[in-house]
Amino acid sequence: MFKKILIANRGEIAVRILRACRELGIQTVSVYSEVDRTSLHVRLADEAYLIGPAASRESYLRIDKLMDVAKKSGCDALHPGYGFLAENPALPRACADAGITFIGPSAEAMEAMGSKTAGKQLARRTGVPTVPGTSDPIENPDEAQALAQNMGYPVLLKAIAGGGGKGMRVVPNDPAFASAWRDAASEALNAFGDQRVFLEKYLVGPRHIEIQILADAHGRCVSLGERECSVQRRHQKVVEEAPSPVVTPELRRKMGDAAVRLGRAGGYVNAGTVEFLVDADLNYYFLEVNTRLQVEHPVTEQVTGLDLVKLQIAIAADHRLPFAWETITPRGHAMEVRLYAEDPDNNFFPSPGKIISCHVPTGPGIRLDEGVYEGWTVPMDYDPLLSKLIAWGNSREETIARLRRALDEYTITGIRTNVSLFRRILTEPEFLRGDIHTKWLDELLARPHPPAVPPRPGTEEAALIAAALWHSARSGATSSGSAESQAAPSRWKMEGRRQQMDHMP
């Protein structure tokens, strides 16, 4: 096993990896930029080194600086986390040159599977379904129409030179084909000077469902089941769950087999994710492979009882996967929401700043993977992900109830967060029925806001009293000099002190 691991990341994922290392008795080395000196991943690490200014181009993305730190501190392995350099084959190559083990797939596997086109070719070769269509242009409209009939409507016509929706037509049925073809071709000619069009099956309201795979260096590749990530805002996942509300055991087995086949064919080793689109008839189509740990890995951990980061480390240390495929079936239900420092009332604008207070939820079935703390200033230079709140329970209903309860306990002041977005999602009847697709959230947000649930009687009064007391405590100094020299001790302060005494062991 490794002695010391360099964590080439920041934020909640760096903290997540650090914790796994600590549990395994492995020393940890963090790196940080100038604005991250007080970040949690620096505070918790055994060693930490400054690698440059705030801009990630000059710090977290500098392979040379990471290698310097790894050598100087005597690391024998490196974990890239997600984002930053996690899917850049140059990092595993640099690690290999420096004699450091990269915790992730080989550079070759990244290249063979990571890019959309390479992944699609591999999928076709291994018989994994991709969205049906022609990758080459079709000259003859009759030939195209025959293909469309074969494929089944609706279909999508796309200009070869396309972009921005120009030269794109959804064809709902056969009679509409001829005119749609003419429109798409002439629009493409006008917009791009190229009238060539190709054909693809149009998926109505597809779901995003992905399979987590794990592969060791000894030829075993297994599926850990699916995650449903259909709730997305502008292609960015915001709620993830496992298992999917629509996946049957049979579909899980089929998709799992397809993902494993793909992993084997690509010579994949370590943790990876094969993403699929699933249509209303539960046909699945390959989308892409993520050659790294995913943000949403905790939901799989909660329903399988496995620690994916520890398994990644074990695989990188050449261990064999300690289980057979048959033993992994999801237990219960898990759901994750991504808390961002952004203002849902103001077009999801980023909201960096100082966290004045932070009260985090605990209790049964709640897990919080976070990279922030009270008093810390969220820098404006990076992704605004603050934390991931994960709930699990025996059923989807219980899990959602726990998540709602935990969100009500979660109070962050000083910065704006998107907590209210999740309160809304988690009460929408469509979401509760599991009736979701990748455009669902964007459509929901375009609809008028439902009237807010009125606060229970007394809330306003309580707020007013609190405001007056808070204000009088702050400005209590105005008449008598300073708070300390007040003649009569404040009853509130006395009460606070008494409570603290009660908590003394």
């Binding site: 009064e461 707020a463 009293i465 609190a466 405001a467 008449s479 009569a488 606070g496």
Partner: protein, 170 residues
């Protein structure tokens, strides 16, 4: 002690009067002229637990950059503007002057580009204390009262957050 509080909640904006009376150990409260039986305990620097006829509430408080208070009670959020009668001297006569020690807040996140005064300086109301640059705009932060610059909590070149205390004027 009497406060006028403008409370803004879910689409609703109303002015209320809260009275706090402290007699030795006992504190009585009134809201809009009605005595109320409330028990309030500070449970954290920015959180107050309020019991109203057996109903339990927890309010988390922070100051917004514009000087109003942000109040969070579970999923509900309010903003409150407080008009403190003690803070204004001779208000009825039109002469407006803030009294007591005043904390000077940064109105927006930015960078302190110039400090115009030093600790111990006597300053006039409206006199510039320091300059904060944000989004390429220079903003002079002025003293709300005449008095002495008691503390200066920032230095030139320092980045500050919205609502961060910059200085005290006593």
């Amino acid at each position: 002690m009497k406060f006028e509080i403008q409370l803004t909640g879910a689409g609703d904006k109303r002015k209320h009067v809260v009275e706090l009376e402290r007699k030795g150990d006992v504190c009585s409260m009134a809201l809009d002229g009605q005595a109320i039986d409330a028990d309030a305990v500070q449970i954290a620097p920015n959180a107050i637990s309020v019991m109203l006829a057996g109903q339990s509430f927890e309010i988390h408080i922070s100051r917004s950059p514009d000087g109003t208070l942000n109040l969070q009670c579970g999923p509900h959020e309010f903003s409150a503007e407080i008009i403190d009668p003690r803070a204004w001297r001779g208000r009825k006569h039109g002469a407006v002057e803030v009294e007591g020690r005043q904390e000077i807040f940064a109105p927006m996140p930015g960078k302190v580009v110039r400090v115009l005064t030093a600790v111990g300086d006597i300053v006039e109301a409206g006199q510039g204390l320091l300059v904060v640059e944000a989004m390429k705009m220079q903003n002079e932060i002025r003293s709300p009262k005449s008095g002495k610059l008691e503390r200066l909590l920032v230095k030139e070149g320092q980045n500050v957050n919205a609502g961060e205390v910059l200085a005290w004027v006593e």
